[in-house]
Subunit: 238 residues, 2 copies
DNA sequence: CGTGCCAGGTGCCAT
DNA sequence: ATGGCACTTGGCACG
């Protein structure tokens, strides 16, 4: 239709059947769903329950519309990886097409990146007289989040995580081990909001350390940043 | 409204502002979005571009509706983890409320589970005279996908992945190492559709092996399964 | 209920 | 393009 060519939004509640073939394959039998076709080529299909979409196709896509056996057939093709989404529509309950403009900015806040910013601004969150030397550094075994020096000048690798799980602990060990193997002295600290059971023990056994940072500590630091002050307005930080 | 109490679907295109606070925090400034409130309590907010939702709240939720400063205010609360989504609505473009029923079945096909089924049915995909002994087994370091025996009766741990990346290789090594450390003889094979660069080398260095399975091999095996025949009808498997 | 692991993960940014 | 890694990841299976 014209709506697709003019990159409008198309929203349907319709009785449809959906097939997907690409990295995997799936088939969704007849039923009523919400089909969302966006101006950028994205297609999202929601069932009436569940927070996640049942089928989708990320842009860029090419969309073909035709009629087959009396059904409206919409084929959404993605090139790389090669994926095809086919929607067969038996009837349309509700249809909306139109231009929807949205220029509102979106701020995400307090993810790993913000934890890092807080530590960069206040290295004492790690410990007294701690200094950050590098932000993101390639080491044997991967890329460590921060490298610092403690008050005795000992090199320290810092790995940041929202949740300190076993995988994170192993990751840190992977960074520290080669250095120690080569005779280097290095500390390794896993920083997280929360630690799963067994992780602290694993760290201890392997000569590593941890810091539990509290959400409100980080928030109170970040909210001082002028850049984010407007963002914070309206939030009552508990 | 009544629509929420009666667990109906509510779909709006509206000019709104959204705040999220919970595991992280986010703020979305005024603009036009598609707001989807489902009968099970799920709430999904889409912008007019992008395949992913900008904000959401998974069920179970409690929904409060009120009026604040002349705006319609919808608050969606999730208990564990504690998360709050606040939607302030300035104007509504389009509104749909109603019961949407969808009983159509959904089949997903050719994920790791299907790769396993194919290998269970045809262990020769691993190698000639290979026998599967166990499906899913706890070992030191985690849970391995398959345990088998080669034609010489040597125990073999098999890890299945869609993509054989470094993480998968390390995972397999983690399963094999403790056994070898204790003097056990064991082979380790990483099975995947595709291997990232460096992974095969890493496996080789650590005395592990790999098998590259092709999609069509697995498909041709699975399509023979009666249970899935109906699913396959209509697919032209290339 | 937490813990681990997969996903058509998606997205972002590095080389 | 490929790889590495975080994510309000969500989801499921399992101890």
């Amino acid at each position: 239709m014209d709506a697709i060519r003019s990159h409008h939004l198309i929203l349907m509640i319709c009785d449809c059947r959906v097939e997907y073939e690409g990295r995997a394959s799936s088939k969704l039998m007849w039923g009523r769903r919400i089909v969302l076709m966006k101006g950028d080529g994205s297609v999202v299909i929601h069932r009436p329950v569940g927070v996640e979409a049942v089928n989708w196709q990320p842009p860029p896509t090419v969309i073909h519309i035709s009629s087959e056996d009396g059904y409206l057939k919409i084929v959404v093709v993605r090139r790389r990886p090669k994926e095809v989404l086919r929607i067969y529509i038996r009837s349309i309950d509700t249809l909306y097409t139109g231009k929807v403009r949205d220029s509102g900015e979106f701020y995400m806040y307090f993810d790993e990146e913000d934890l890092k910013k807080a530590i960069l601004a206040h290295p004492e969150l790690i410990e007294e007289n701690f200094r950050i030397i590098r932000d993101e550094m390639e080491v044997e075994g991967g890329r460590v989040d921060l490298v610092g020096e403690d008050e005795n000048g000992m090199k320290t690798l810092v790995e940041l995580k929202k949740v300190g799980n076993m995988e994170a602990a192993r990751q840190l060990l992977r960074y520290v081990s080669p250095i120690r193997r080569d005779g280097g002295k290095v500390r390794g600290i896993l920083v997280a909001e929360k630690f799963n059971s067994g992780v602290k023990k694993f760290l201890k056994i392997n000569g590593l350390e941890w810091r539990e940072v509290r959400r409100h500590q980080v928030l109170s630091i970040i909210r001082k940043s002028r850049k984010l002050r407007r963002f914070m307005e309206g939030f009552k930080v508990e």
